[in-house]
Amino acid sequence: MEVLEIPAGTGMPAIRLDPVAHSHRFAGESYPENTSEFYAPVLAWVERYLAGLAAEQSAEFNFEIVYFNSSTSKIFMDLFFQLEEAAQSGKAVTVNWIYDRDNEAALEYGEEFAEDLVDLPFHLVEKAS
């Protein structure tokens, strides 16, 4: 598999999915014109990646999202469910939800995702200032 890299744009987060380092990153804001079209290659990449991920290999998904709209919220939930399924099948997948102390909403969003994810390690991480 190859690295999937999408540069940040207005309303579009920077995304870097790295199958070698097993560290993946989503950063910025998300309100693309067509949310499902924008995230389709990302969801497809993650699906293939998880299918080929060895059980002993840990993988980390870092989300540092300052704002996202409600259709992105749905996509993220679907993505986390995909990761949770992998975790249920014994894969060492974790999510770090990184928020800024000033951005109360970003923390609340993280908490709400965590409430809906039972088997996926979902860490709320305050950004070092």
Binding site: G11, Y67, K74, M77, D100
Partner: protein, 183 residues
């Protein structure tokens, strides 16, 4: 409209606390442009992050609603995309920020939307949260272009219940107005 009417309109808007107004076809470029202007404006006004995020969120959800669902539409010059017409007013009055939006909707959709919004405004913050979580786990409804979470998101960001109104225009269309307040 006569030349001096525009000044009267501007004065009237300022009296109502309007800071920003846009009326016309809404493309994604317009959403981005106004969104950036709004962010700069809030930063210059030193509005705290938490409040600006709420204002921005209500603005974004309703701009996207109008772009997708307004019954008044325009095709791009090269036949690309379709823009929905809408009007948005952002402002501040008596210590509260407001986002006021209006667009045409099909008359046939009025009762369903009125029923849905009436249910939302009667809900407590916790009920809104549970509904949001429940709907986010399910798929969207068939005629939705997004996740079907927009109005719930707006209701959750407001510091008091959303206000809304439907004004009949003709047999087929009505004018839908919605306003959110943020403390």
């Amino acid at each position: 409209m006569m030349l001096d009417d525009l000044h009267a309109l501007k004065t009237r808007m300022e009296d109502e606390g309007a800071i920003f107004c846009f009326s016309g076809p809404i493309s994604h470029q317009i959403v981005i442009g106004i969104g950036e202007a709004l962010k700069n404006n809030m930063q210059a006004d030193r509005i705290d992050t938490s409040t600006s995020m709420k204002i921005f969120s209500i603005f974004m959800e309703q701009m996207q609603n109008m772009m997708f669902y307004s019954a008044e539409r325009l095709c791009g010059p090269n036949g690309e995309g379709e823009f929905g017409f809408g009007i948005i007013v952002l402002g501040r009055r008596e210590g509260e920020h407001f986002v006021l939006c209006g667009n045409r909707i099909p008359a046939a959709k009025v009762e369903r939307l009125r029923g849905y919004l009436s249910d939302l405004v009667a809900m407590s913050p916790d009920q809104l949260k549970q509904l949001y979580r429940q709907k986010r786990k399910q798929g969207p409804e068939a005629d939705s272009k997004g996740a079907g979470l927009g109005f719930i998101e707006m209701a959750r960001k407001c510091s008091r219940p959303l206000e809304f109104d439907f004004k009949p225009i003709d047999a087929d269309t009505a004018f839908f107005t919605i306003r959110g307040f943020i403390q």
